[in-house]
């Protein structure tokens, strides 16, 4: 009898394995269709495509289908494939928790062995790895997205790595739009932000949310004292059980504490999912995801919209320059195409309205975006103070790129840890 039970248990384990395998198969199918898509592209164009035979590597920190940061990069890689006929070699979930025996250097070497002539390392977390890899393969052009190693005016300039460039989008604008949408919708004035980890980039983005929210809150005639923005940091770009805080719990705590709009600053969509669940239970709550154009689809009924990256055009430019031999490493911090911020072929930063954004709010938001575009609204103008009351920008002073990139603290008025001390 005991033996019988044991073999049943074993059988169940095997069934579990089979299910896991079946789950894996779906992602493998996706990849094969990708390859097929590339081929199709080449056959429909009569002339040989410029990227025929060109390979590039794409290293992602999270899953390629995370509906957030990593997927946005993955889609950019597919965009290059489509436009040039080049071939992407991608590897996702490259981080020490998911792949303990794999380093970024090893992945880069593997990709170069496979013929990659250009490497994209697409996370802040890959700094050490991609800098080491760039030193090891000085002839291979590489891009470290969101980094500042190629910025001469920056604080971490690496003159010794002439093959390593940086690309980043001016998400300060996208986050300001998100902040505005949140302020136009919130009934309580209590906004909350699920932050990833604390660094220059995230300080700058939370501050942008606040500035955008403040502008629209006051323009709508509300009392500035009633607007609150609270941030809580989970510790990494996405949930790692046992290591980071759980973003689902953080979001629930925000709503329990009286916030009615939660903005996500992490790579994945937990904030939106939680908002959807709570709205289904009758609460008046909303959320704003981040990173990926299609992120709202997880819970469209509570989504106010999403500020997203469109890495495709910038990555395509780099790939083209490598193909024709004119690559030069650059630091690029690219804003939206103001003629149409959602143009997939020209605009680095976009915003799509969500189903939950009211018509009135959408109209006010359009006005805000137009103001940012024509320069009539400039959020980073003094007087602006840091959280501890010290001056960030003096009265009338316009923030420079360097000042905004390297904000030392969150702005005065934001609740939550600001720096690592």
């Amino acid at each position: 009898m005991r033996q019988g039970k044991r073999s049943v248990r074993l059988l169940m384990l095997l069934v579990v394995f089979a299910l896991v395998a079946a789950a894996c198969s779906s992602s493998s199918e996706e990849t094969t269709t990708t390859a097929a898509g590339g081929d199709e592209g080449t056959t429909t164009t009569e002339a040989a495509m410029p990227g025929e035979g060109f390979k590039f590597g794409m290293i992602l920190v999270g899953p390629e289908n995370d509906r957030g940061w990593s997927q946005a990069h993955y889609e950019a890689g597919k965009y290059i494939e489509e436009m040039t006929g080049a071939e992407m070699i991608s590897l996702d979930t490259v981080n020490p928790a998911d792949r303990p025996e794999t380093s970024v250097e090893q992945v880069v070497s593997d990709m170069i062995d496979q013929g990659a002539q250009l490497i994209f390392a697409t996370s802040d977390d890959m700094k050490d790895g991609i800098e080491a890899a760039a030193a090891e393969h000085p002839d291979v052009p590489m891009i470290w997205s969101s980094g500042d190693s190629a910025w001469e005016e920056g604080e971490a300039y690496r003159a010794d790595l002439p093959n390593l460039g940086n690309i980043m989008g001016k998400m300060t604008i996208g986050k300001a739009i998100a902040g505005c949408a949140a302020a136009l919708t919130s009934e309580t004035g209590n906004l909350a932000y699920v932050g990833p980890l604390i660094n220059d980039e995230t300080r700058r983005l939370v501050s942008s949310v606040y500035l955008g929210a403040k502008n629209c809150w006051e323009k709508a005639g509300n009392d500035p004292a009633d607007l609150n923005l609270e941030v809580n940091w989970i510790g990494f770009w996405f949930n790692i059980p046992g290591v980071t805080l759980d973003p689902t719990e953080v979001t629930n705590a925000f709503f329990d504490g009286g916030a009615d709009v939660v903005l996500s600053g992490i790579d994945t969509t937990e904030a939106l999912v939680v908002a959807g669940q709570r709205a289904a239970a009758g609460e008046k709550v909303w959320a704003i995801p981040y990173d990926f154009e299609g992120a709202c689809s997880e819970a469209p009924e509570v989504c106010l919209g999403v500020p997203y990256f469109n890495w495709g055009p910038a990555y395509l430019d780099v790939a083209a320059s490598v193909m024709n031999g004119t690559y030069e490493r650059q630091f690029q911090w690219i804003g939206p195409d103001w003629t149409d911020i959602n143009n997939p072929d020209t605009s680095m930063i976009g915003w799509v309205n969500g189903d939950a954004l009211s018509d009135d709010a959408a109209a006010a938001l359009d006005e805000f975006i137009a103001g940012l575009g024509d320069g009539s609204i400039d959020l980073f103008v003094g007087p602006l103070n840091y959280q501890d009351g010290s001056t960030f920008l003096a009265d009338g002073e316009k923030g420079t790129d360097v000042q905004i990139w390297y904000m030392k603290q969150l702005l005065e008025g934001i609740e939550g840890a600001s720096s690592s001390g």
Binding site: Q3, L10, L13, F17, A18, V20, A21, A22, C24, S25, S27, S28, E29, E30, T31, T32, I89, L91, D92, N95, P96, A97, R99, P100, E101, T102, S103, Q106, V107, S109, D110, M111, D113, Q114, D124, D125, D128, P196, L197, I198, N199, D200, W233, G235, F236, I240, G242, V243, T244, K408, A417, S419, S420
Partner: protein, 349 residues
């Protein structure tokens, strides 16, 4: 004869596991033989691949060798994972604060790792011998505590300037890195491999050729009779914990000073848990640990290629490892049952 009788079911089980792996690949729609050859190519296909495999092999060897000792003493030392982490933390501390050239710092990190791992193992040991807490629960609890401490240090006191992230501390200065030996255009992890092999040899000799080993095994087989025969059981149990923990701690040193060159929360690489599978598969024998550990890390390291080239989820490697262990243990149990069945039928008439 008994050896052969044991080896045959193991080989049959391995073969069965392989067949099952092939079937899995077919279900997934991947070319099975290309996938298997990619596993081999990905772990042994070039000098740099071999070097990467050896670098992953070393901590697994150390952790497995430590486990063989505690298993010999009859202990289910589930706390290896935590001991690896505490070794890594102690080694990181030395790497961060001790000045001076490499020949001072590197031995310092190894010693610190050993102490860190031993102390953590002794905690579980004292909980068992003096607190009556079973080592499975004590060890597992301490695993979580160690992981928590590592995360706290990374995001707290040891964070990078201006940053609070769980992604890791600053890179250690070059002198604290375990030296590599340059050949064939790649750096070779000679020191880690030597440490790993030495640990296995040490454990093998200890258990085979010393009074300590003999008594330890006797404690492991029957702790009560050993006690009656005058062996200070608790002292031997704690000795096994300390030694096993020290070896696991050195695995942690290897992880921080030879691989990551910084402390990250996931510093153990899961080798503490993987080591349990290795030792189970090795039938608690030190001699078998080395080849089996190599086989396991080869699957881990090579499985990245499945993702890169076939678009397969590289979790397949882990699935294959699990299937192998299941099949071998199932095969062993089956053989044992058949043996006892044939004995009983022989006796009946």
């Amino acid at each position: 004869m008994t050896r052969l009788r044991l080896a045959v079911p193991t080989l049959v089980s391995l073969f069965a596991a392989l067949v099952f792996g092939v079937l899995l690949l077919l279900v997934v729609g991947a070319p099975p033989f290309e996938a298997l050859s990619l596993l081999v190519e990905g772990s042994f296909g070039s000098a740099s691949k071999i070097s990467a495999t050896l670098l992953a092999w070393s901590p697994l060897l150390l952790a497995s060798a430590g486990l063989v000792i505690t298993f010999a003493a009859g202990l289910w030392n589930i706390g290896v994972e935590g001991q690896v982490i505490m070794g890594a933390i102690a080694a990181s501390w030395v790497a961060r604060v001790v000045p001076g050239p490499g020949w001072v710092v590197v031995p310092g990190t190894i010693l610190a790792g050993a102490i860190g791992g031993a102390v953590w193992a002794l905690l579980a040991g004292f909980l068992k011998t003096h607190g009556g807490v079973h080592e499975i629960f004590g060890g597992l609890g301490l695993d979580f505590v160690a992981a928590g401490i590592a995360t706290y240090l990374v995001i707290g006191p040891w964070k990078r300037a201006g940053v609070a992230s769980t992604s890791g501390t600053d890179i250690f200065r070059q002198e604290a890195w375990m030296p590599e030996f340059q050949a064939f255009g790649v750096g070779w992890p000679v020191v880690p491999v030597l440490l790993g092999l030495a640990s296995v040899a040490l454990v093998w000799v200890l258990l085979r050729g010393t009074l300590f080993g003999l008594r330890l095994k006797s404690v492991g087989n029957n702790s009560y009779s050993s006690f009656l025969l005058g062996i200070p059981t608790n002292r031997y149990l704690l000795g096994a914990f300390a030694l096993g923990g020290a070896l696991a701690g050195i695995a942690g040193t290897v992880q921080v000073t030879a691989f990551h060159h910084k402390l990250v929360p996931a510093i153990s690489g899961g080798y503490g848990f993987l080591a349990i599978l290795v030792v189970l598969l090795a039938g608690f024998s030190a001699a078998l640990v080395a080849p089996i550990a190599l086989f396991f890390v080869a699957i881990s390291v090579g499985s990245t290629q499945l993702d890169l080239r076939l678009g397969l989820d590289s979790a397949f490697g882990g699935v294959l490892q699990g299937v192998i262990v299941l099949f071998v243990m199932f095969g062993g149990a089956f053989a044992a049952r058949r043996a006892s069945w044939s004995r009983s039928t022989q006796e009946e008439p």
